[in-house]
């Protein structure tokens, strides 16, 4: 193990060192308040996006400005959260990242928070059921390590990093963010940021990338009380895909149709289902 580990470790350290020292850095990424001095070679090793630059102005200037959310022209969906970009760049050099802890701490294992005893104990019961259903490995350690760096609970940030990874074509980061998102959601779905995270998942990622969408559907399905939250309901209501998937789930089907012929049937059924849902909603 050590024989193969050591060179990898050394390389990782060297990589992190390069980022810190900015030695030989030949490119600049600007996003909102942040400026990063980076190395083209390393970017190109991880993402296709930066391959394209030499033909454009950015190639000549050796810098790029990634437009930050809220910078003014009202197209925020297509812009980046500077924090997410920061984590992405961090990933380029560390092959890992950790988001900041949530602004408001999620309910700790103890029973004394704003959510009240009833909710917590209810949640605890749910958890057990989920585990017995064999719901996935990330869930297993959820109750014990909510704030560990690798599974830090900031699902909103993970969703944003995931979206950025898709946008900038960084497959390795995409997988990592999806993993972290799953772990975070499993613990923190009751947190206020869940609704926003769900919205990010359904509006900024392609439909066929199921990684974090599946998590959202599963969690809402398994924890029906989420549908009692106004903000969550608003997201569900606003996105027909999400409502449809939830309904399929409720009928014990998979969230999305797999087979080809199935797809057509569902298209027809879709209209009916939407009406059904809107009938149920307040």
């Amino acid at each position: 193990m050590a024989a193969t580990d050591r060179p990898v470790l050394a390389f990782k350290q060297g990589l992190a060192g390069l980022f810190k020292s900015e030695k030989l850095a030949d490119f600049t990424i600007v996003c909102g308040p942040h400026t990063f001095r980076v190395h083209k070679a390393i970017l190109c090793a991880l993402t296709k996006y930066f391959d394209a630059l030499p033909n454009f102005a950015e190639g000549a200037q050796n810098s790029i400005e990634l437009k930050a959310v809220g910078s003014g022209d009202g197209d925020d969906e297509a812009c980046d959260d500077p924090e997410a970009v920061k984590l992405m760049v961090h990933f380029f050099y560390h092959l890992d990242y950790s988001a900041d802890a949530l602004a408001i701490a999620p309910s700790p294992p103890t029973v004394d928070n704003a959510f009240g005893g009833v909710t917590t104990s209810y949640k605890g019961k749910k958890k057990k059921r989920i585990v017995t259903h064999g719901w996935g490995e990330s869930v297993d350690d959820a109750p014990t390590a909510p704030t560990s760096p690798s599974t830090d609970g900031n699902m909103l940030m993970h969703a944003k990093v995931f979206a950025a990874a898709v946008k900038y074509r960084v497959p390795a980061l995409k997988d990592l963010a999806a993993e972290k998102f799953a772990a975070a959601v499993a613990i923190n779905f009751n947190h206020a940021s869940f609704a926003e995270a769900a919205r990010i998942a359904y509006t900024t990622t392609p439909e066929d990338m199921r990684e974090i969408r599946d998590q959202v559907v599963e969690v809402i399905h398994a924890n029906a009380e989420l549908l009692m939250k106004h903000d969550v309901m608003e997201v569900v209501h606003g996105d027909s895909n999400l409502s449809c998937e939830l309904l399929r789930k409720a009928h014990g089907m998979s969230a999305v149709a797999v087979g080809e012929e199935d797809r057509e049937d569902v298209e027809i059924a879709l209209q009916r289902l939407r009406q059904d849902i809107s009938g149920v909603l307040p």
Binding site: A52, F56, V69, E77, A114, S193, P206
Partner: protein
């Protein structure tokens, strides 16, 4: 839940996502403008981030399809309105080319340059398109990933390649005229033709255009087999090449010689290979090669080989290199080389038949040199035994035949080695052809045996061991081809018999070597009887020595007593009929016992006695016709001379005749009839011996009256007191002592005998097979019999049928009546 509401941000924008139709036009506007810049090579000021973000935004808003279609439309109009117009502008002068008449009107150089201009403009357009679409693909990366994958659309790059194909290549230049693709194909083919004619062309330029065709597909599905190159250009190329080479091949066959043709074909193939590498596509190499091979080789091989300067000419003139070229060419198209092997077969058959015919003609013309000599030359010639003169023309023809056949084989073996890389297929064909001509010659067996005979008797004299070895090997080589080995055995036995008994062989060692070689080549059973002959010889020598010492031990040492050398031969092993004279009939033999004078008879009885002591129960038959004798002859003084004494070597019969004159006064004579009565030698042998003794000038020990060439009834003989000879030793030859070609009657006899022994062999084989198999169909029995006997001879099917019939008659076999096919059953 106030806390949560406060914590969410920007939720208000949520609804704006779906209501952004107005946005699309503006965003597309930005992109379109940028694309315009990219196509006009003005991209360096564009911000990739901005373009990417805008395209990303459109797709996020689920307008991917619209974006895709807009880009496609943009490309379509750009290619159709800008790029194509530019290319067509380069084409105007060339359009006439399409009408065919233009070919002669333009000079070669003009045409080439015009073509190059067109190729250059198309290459430029293609390369620009590639670069631009590369950049567009970068900008639209997200659309490709999300929209195209989801909706199973070709990527925008692939789509735009299809547009290039449709807008540039497939659209007619103007109404009713050919498309650019057709023109392109024609121009490239034209340039390749120039290349074939030796004019330098811009290979890279063509290669770039081919590269374009390889990058485009017949449909938008981009199936590998549907490459535009394969679907259009390559087909045309192969077609026109086939036409070109067909014509060229035909012309060359008419105009040049075969060697040049071969070199040319080889060069053309190499050229086409190079052309694929440098100018077209490597994937075409095997196809064009096949075309050139078809047109220049496969379809022309027959014509090439049969040319006046073709294979026959090459073989005749030792053009080994050119033959190897022919070989290389055919080996390229067919590992079996059918045409070449056919040609070899034909050639060998032709030359071989000539040799056979020459031998037949030579053997049929009477021996001419003999007539020029004086009377008795024949007998006198024979007396020298080994001299070349003595062998009559037929024997010379036999030796020549063998030498000719061997040299024919050597020649083709050499050709095969030098030119055909000792190829298996060709050498098999050569061997088969050799076997055919050797077996087509009815006297082959006899001639081969005679060849060995001649060499054994004198050919190997003063030769080194290696040379002897080569000679033996030659004989074996030719023997290998012979199918009727049983006939050969008959002749060989006959010839060997004479060699051994008449002591004509130069070396018994070499004889034995030959036998052991045959043993290796033809098997044990073949040499069994031959070896027995040698064994008899050895035993006889021991016997004679034993008898000699036996006589010495008797004490009665009579100096005048005759010494006896004897060969005791096993009757079945030796072909004694070999000694029978040409005029003799079977049956005469042994009937009349010759009368021995007492001095001889004593020795004979003495030996018989001695022999029966050691070998009881065996009967000795004296073959007086085969013996010879050494006699000391004393002739009285002539005037002024002294008594002459000669050692006369003659046949046993001659000895008996001469002994009669011992008791006769010098002035008396005996008539032919009297001699016959007193010796009881058959008249035929008698006349022949008397002829040697009284007619041949050098051995005229007797005088005949009247003096004439022939010995006739009533002739009288007396002792020739005046006999003189230069040598002390005088050898009296007897006609037909040497081995030579058989006469027709002899041959018939041999054939008959051979057929008889074959009949036995066939019957034996049939019985052997049936005994093992019990029931067998007729066809199977035939096949098995033939295969069993093939080592000995090639049995005649009719003969087998007759033998089977005969076996049925004798109740060895019976027909199975109820069998669906003719079958036999073995009757134990």
């Amino acid at each position: 839940m106030p806390i949560i509401a406060a914590g969410t941000m920007a939720n208000a924008k949520n609804q704006g996502l779906n209501g952004a139709d107005v946005d699309f036009e503006t965003t597309w506007g930005i992109l379109e403008k940028a694309f315009q810049e990219i196509h006009t090579k003005n991209a360096s000021a564009l911000s990739f981030e901005e373009l990417y973000r805008n395209a990303y935004k459109i797709v996020l808003k689920k307008k991917g399809e619209e974006l895709y279609n807009h880009v496609a439309q943009f490309e379509e109009s750009w290619l159709g309105n800008t790029v194509r117009v530019e290319i067509v502008r380069h084409l105007t002068a060339l359009l006439m080319l399409g009408e065919g008449t233009g070919r002669t009107m333009n000079t070669q150089t003009e045409r080439r340059e015009a073509g190059e201009r067109f190729l250059k403009s198309l290459k430029g357009a293609w390369e620009d398109h590639q670069v631009c679409m590369g950049m567009l693909t970068d900008v639209l990366m997200y659309m490709d990933r999300v929209y195209c994958t989801d909706h199973r659309q070709p990527s925008i790059f692939a789509k735009s390649m299809g547009l290039f194909r449709d807008q540039i290549l497939r659209t007619p230049v103007r109404q009713g005229s050919p498309t650019l693709l057709q023109i392109l194909t024609r121009i490239i083919l034209d340039q390749i033709q120039m290349d074939r004619d030796g004019e330098a062309i811009d290979q890279f330029l063509i290669k770039a255009n081919v590269y374009m065709l390889e990058g485009l597909y017949d449909s938008d599905q981009e199936v590998e087999d549907d490459k535009l190159y394969l679907r259009t250009f390559e087909l045309e190329f192969l077609h026109s090449s086939a036409e070109f080479y067909r014509e060229e091949g035909e012309r060359l066959l008419k105009e040049s010689d075969a060697g040049t043709y071969c070199r040319h074909a080889k060069r053309r193939i190499d050229e086409e290979n190079d052309r694929c590498r440098s100018t077209l596509s490597e994937s075409t190499t095997p196809k064009i090669q096949r075309v050139v091979e078809d047109e220049l080789i496969r379809h022309k091989m027959k014509g090439l080989i049969e040319m006046e300067t073709g294979v026959a000419f090459m073989v005749e003139n030792d053009k080994f290199h050119e033959l190897s070229l022919v070989f290389d060419l055919e080996a390229r198209v067919d590992p079996k080389k059918p045409e070449l092997t056919k040609a070899m077969h034909k050639l060998i058959t032709e030359l071989g038949t000539n040799i056979n015919n020459t031998a037949i003609t030579a053997s049929q013309t009477p021996a001419q040199p003999a007539t020029t000599e004086e009377a008795g030359d024949d007998a006198q010639g024979k007396s020298k035994g080994g001299s070349a003169k003595a062998i009559n023309q037929q024997t010379v023809a036999a030796l020549k035949w063998v030498e000719d056949i061997l040299s024919l084989k050597d020649r083709f073996d050499h050709v095969c080695k030098a030119s055909f890389a000792s190829d298996q297929a060709v050498s098999t064909a050569i061997n088969r052809s050799m076997a055919d001509i050797i077996n087509a010659f009815s006297r082959g067996s006899e001639y081969i045996s005679l060849f060995i005979d001649d060499n054994m008797k004198k050919g190997i004299k003063n030769k080194s061991e290696a040379e002897i070895d080569t000679t033996l090997e030659k004989a074996i080589t030719i023997l290998r081809y012979l199918s009727d080995k049983d006939i050969f055995e008959t002749y060989y036995k006959k010839h060997l018999c004479k060699r051994l008994l008449l002591k004509k062989s130069q070396s018994i060692d070499v004889e034995k070597q030959m036998i052991s070689r045959m043993k290796i080549e033809l098997g044990n059973s073949f040499t069994l009887k031959l070896e027995a002959m040698f064994k008899d010889m050895t035993l006889s020598e021991e016997l004679a020595n034993g008898y000699r010492s036996h006589v010495r031990n008797l004490g009665d040492v009579d100096p005048r007593r005759m010494d006896l050398g004897i060969n005791v031969l096993t009757a079945m092993t030796w072909p004694l009929e070999a000694f029978r004279g040409a005029g003799e009939h079977e049956g005469n033999e042994g009937k009349a016992q010759v009368i021995y004078p007492p001095s001889i008879d004593k020795v004979r009885l003495g030996f018989e006695h001695y022999y029966s002591e050691t070998h009881s129960g065996r009967r000795l038959t004296w073959q007086t016709n085969m013996g010879d004798a050494d006699i000391k002859g004393t002739f009285p003084k002539s005037k002024g001379g002294k008594t002459r004494s000669y050692d006369i070597n003659c046949s046993t019969y001659a000895m008996l005749i001469l002994l009669l004159f011992n008791d006769l006064p010098a002035d008396q004579s005996i008539s032919l009839e009297e001699i016959q009565v007193r010796t009881n030698i058959s008249m035929n042998d008698l006349t022949r011996n008397l002829q040697s003794l009284s007619v041949a000038p050098k051995t005229r020990v007797l005088l005949k009256t009247p003096m004439s060439r022939e010995v006739k009834a009533g002739d009288r003989f007396s002792f020739n007191e005046g006999f003189k000879s230069e040598y002390i030793k005088v050898k009296v030859g007897v006609v037909s002592a040497g081995n030579k070609v058989e006469g027709d009657r002899e041959r018939k006899e041999t054939e008959k005998k051979n057929n008889d022994s074959r009949s036995f062999a066939i019957e034996a084989a049939v019985v052997r097979i049936m005994k093992a198999r019990k029931d067998l169909s007729h066809a199977q029995l035939l096949t098995e019999t033939i295969s069993q006997l093939s080592a000995q001879f090639k049995p005649d099917v009719n003969m087998i049928k007759k033998r089977i019939e005969s076996l049925i008659e004798r109740e060895y076999l019976e027909r199975i009546e109820e069998a669906p096919v003719a079958s036999y059953r073995y009757l134990a």
